[in-house]
Symmetry: C2
Subunit: 396 residues, 2 copies
C-alpha cells in the first residue's frame, strides 16, 4: 500500500539494486578479490587523521549540551563563520556566517534549496549526463525536470540549448562540476557564458533564475585544473557542498549551502533555506560533525591516490582502444560503449567487471567507471578489461 510515486521510483531504481545483488553473487562464486566492482562513488581513501583527532578533541572539550544539542536550524554560527572565512581566503567570496547554511550532505542541501524556491510546476534545467537523483529531488517539490541533451565528446554544458529551453516556468538550472559521471571540469569561459545567459534571461523573465551548483567534488581536481568559484560569474547562485568526498565522510551527512548577499532576495532565501532544513525533517546538520568541520575546514584533500588510479586506468583503457574523455576532476571515467550499452555491461559482467550504464545518467551508450577503488584492484582488473576489449571493440 505504498504511494504511487514511490512504486514508480522503486521500479526504476531496481537496475542498480539488481547490479548490487549481481556483485554479491559474483563475489560468492569467484571470491571477492576476483570481482572488479567499479559501480559505486564511495571514497576509497580514509578520512584524514585530522578528522578523528577533531572528533576526540571536540568530544572532550565541548560542553555536553552544546556538543549534542539543538542549535539554530542553519547550524552553529562558529562553524558557519569558519567555512565563510575559508571560502573568503580561497576564493575572495566575501561571505559572512549568514551566507552559510549547514546541511545534511549535498543531497540534503539540494533538497533544501529546491524546497525553498520551486513552486508546483516550475521547471529546473539539468545537463545530461547528470546524477540520476536530481529527478527525485526535483519531483519531491513538485517541480519539472528539463534535460539538456549531452554534448559529447567534450561533455561541456550545451549553453545554446539551455538558452532555448528557458521559459516563463524556469526557476533554476543545476550544474555539477567537477562532473559525475564524466569527470569534466567547467572552465572560466563556460561559466562566464553561462552567467551572461542567465543574467540576460533573468532580466527578460523579470525575476531571478537561480543557478544551483552541486559541488561535492570541488577539491578533487587533477593536472593543476581548478574549479572556478561561481559567484564571480553570476550572483543568483546557490552553492551546495559536501565533505563526503573531500574529507571522505559520506556516511556522516555533513555539508552546506552558500548563498551570496548579491543573490536576488538573498536574506529571504537564506531564511527560507533555514526553515526548509527544519520542515523537511533534517532539523539541522549533525551537531558533532559540524564542530569537527569547524576544526578541519582547511584540511587538505589528498587527491594523489585518485590521481594515480586515474592515470593507470585512463592510460590502460585508452591504450586498449576504448574512447573516453580524460577526466580532470571527480573520480569517474565515462567510457563510450563500443556496442549497445546493455550488451556491453553484460559482457563486462562476464569478466567480473561491474560498471553503471550511461542510461542512469540520461546518456545512453556509455558506462561510468568509478575509480575510487584500490590501485591493486585496478591493476588486477586490467587483464579482464583486455579480454573485454578484444571481445567488444572488434564489433564496432
Amino acid at each position: 500500500m505504498i504511494s504511487e510515486k514511490m512504486k514508480n521510483i522503486m521500479q526504476s531504481g531496481s537496475a542498480i539494486r539488481a547490479m548490487f545483488e549481481e556483485g554479491k553473487k559474483l563475489a560468492e562464486i569467484y571470491g571477492k578479490e576476483n570481482v572488479f566492482d567499479f559501480s559505486l562513488g564511495n571514497p576509497s581513501v580514509p578520512a584524514p587523521k585530522a578528522v578523528n583527532e577533531a572528533i576526540s578533541s571536540v568530544t572532550a572539550n565541548t560542553d555536553e549540551l552544546r556538543l549534542h544539542g539543538y542549535m539554530l536550524n542553519s547550524g552553529f554560527e562558529s562553524t558557519r563563520q569558519a567555512i565563510a572565512d575559508s571560502l573568503n581566503k580561497k576564493y575572495g567570496a566575501g561571505f559572512g556566517y549568514k551566507n552559510i547554511i549547514m546541511t545534511v550532505g549535498a543531497a540534503g542541501g539540494l533538497n533544501v534549496a529546491l524546497k525553498s524556491i520551486v513552486n508546483e510546476g516550475d521547471e529546473v534545467i539539468v545537463f545530461a549526463p547528470y546524477f540520476g537523483e536530481y529527478n527525485n529531488y526535483i519531483s519531491n517539490v513538485g517541480g519539472k525536470i528539463i534535460v539538456i541533451p549531452p554534448a559529447p565528446p567534450h561533455f561541456l554544458p550545451d549553453l545554446d540549448a539551455m538558452e532555448k529551453a528557458i521559459g516563463k516556468k524556469t526557476k533554476a538550472v543545476i550544474i555539477n562540476s567537477p562532473n559525475n559521471p564524466t569527470g569534466v571540469v567547467y572552465g572560466e569561459n563556460t561559466l562566464e557564458k553561462l552567467g551572461n545567459i542567465l543574467k540576460k534571461q533573468s532580466i527578460k523573465k523579470g525575476e531571478a533564475i537561480y543557478l544551483i551548483s552541486d559541488e561535492p567534488y570541488r577539491e578533487l581536481v587533477y593536472d593543476g585544473a581548478k574549479a572556478p568559484f561561481l559567484t564571480k560569474y553570476y550572483s543568483n547562485v546557490i552553492i551546495g557542498y559536501s565533505y563526503s568526498k573531500s574529507l571522505s565522510l559520506p556516511g556522516e551527512r555533513i555539508g552546506y549551502l552558500a548563498i551570496p548577499d548579491e543573490a536576488e532576495d538573498s536574506e529571504n532565501l537564506l531564511s527560507a533555506c533555514s526553515v526548509a532544513t527544519r520542515i523537511l525533517g533534517f532539523v539541522n546538520a549533525p551537531s558533532l560533525q559540524q564542530l569537527v568541520i569547524e576544526k578541519c575546514v582547511d584540511t587538505a584533500t589528498d587527491v594523489s591516490v585518485y590521481d594515480e588510479n586515474r592515470r593507470l586506468l585512463y592510460g590502460a583503457l585508452t591504450e586498449l582502444g576504448f574512447e573516453c574523455i580524460k577526466p580532470q576532476g571527480a573520480f569517474y571515467l565515462f567510457v563510450k560503449s563500443p556496442i549497445a550499452e546493455e550488451e556491453f555491461i553484460a559482457a563486462a559482467k562476464r569478466h567480473n567487471i561491474l560498471v553503471v550504464g550511461g542510461k542512469s545518467f540520461a546518456c545512453e551508450g556509455y558506462v561510468r567507471i568509478a575509480y575510487c577503488v584500490s590501485y591493486d584492484m585496478i591493476k588486477k582488473s586490467l587483464s579482464a578489461f583486455k579480454k573485454l576489449a578484444e571481445e567488444t571493440l572488434s564489433k564496432k
Copy 2:
C-alpha cells in the same frame, strides 16, 4: 523569489521566532539569569557518559572507511540488529534487523514514512493538541491534514471523532504518546480501542490505514507509568523513534523507524522507507552516531531530573490555582490560560516568563511550559508565576 509554500510557512512560523527574539531582548535588559525561558523542548540533562565513551571507542576501533562511509540507506545491519534485540527484550516485539530503518531523528523518520505511503490528496488524521510540524510534514508529500479537536481536561484522543473522520482518502493516523504538549500517556484501553477501530475501518476501506506513532518521549515516563508498545494492539504500525530526548542527542539527528512483519505490505513498505531515506536527501542516518547507538542501545535514561522539575512546577502552579493535567510523561505542562491566550502570554512575558501558546498546537486557550530546564531556574521563576497568578487568575 522563494516559493509560495515557503512564504506561507515562514509567515506562520514567525510567532515562535518573534518569541525567541523577545527572549534575547529580555536577557539583554534583565540579565540571562532573570529570564525564565520555558519555550523550548531542548533536553537540559547532558547525554549519559556512555555516549561519549562510545564515541571514543567507536572512533578508535572501527575501520575508517566503515566508520565514516556509506552503508545501506537503511543503516548498518549491526546497529539495526542491536535495536531489534533491545526492543524484543523490552517488549517482545519479534523484530529482526530488517524491521528497523535508521533515520535522521524522528522528524526525518516521519517524513520518510509519509513519503512512502501518502499519495497527493490522501488524508492523515492527527489529534489536537499536536506538534505543529506535522502540518509541514504532511504538506511536504501533498497530503491533507485532518485535525480531531482536543478533548480536555484528560486530553486523550477522541476516538469516536476519529472514527467518524475516517473516509476513503484516509491513509494514516498519527499519534504521539507520551504527548507533546500535554504530557499525557495513552494507556492500554485507549490503544486497544484505537487498534480495534483501525482494524475495522481498514477492512471496510479494503486497504490498511497505517498508524504512525511518534515516540521520542517513550522512556520519559513518571510515577511508574508505562508507554505500551503499539504492535500488541494493531499491526499496521510505523513507529518513529529518536534518541534526541532519551539520550539527550537532539543535535545529532539519530533515530529509527520500526515496522513489524505483520503490517500490510510490510516488505515493500520497508523497502520504500529505505528508498525514501535516499531520495529525500537524508541518504542515511549519520554513520558514527549509528555505531554509537549500537553500543548505547540499552543505556538507561535518567528521568529523575525531569521528574523533580515536574513535581516542583506542577505542585507550585496548581497550588497557585492554575489548571493543568498532571503529566505522566515527556517534559511539558499544558496549562489552561485563565484569560485569553495571547493576553496571558503577554502577561507572562512582562514577568520574564516565556511559554508557547496552545494555538501553535491547534488548541487555543492553553500554554505549554517546557520544564526541561534547570531546577534552579524553576525555583527562581516561582515568585514570577505567583505575580502572574495574582494578575490573571482574579480575572477568570
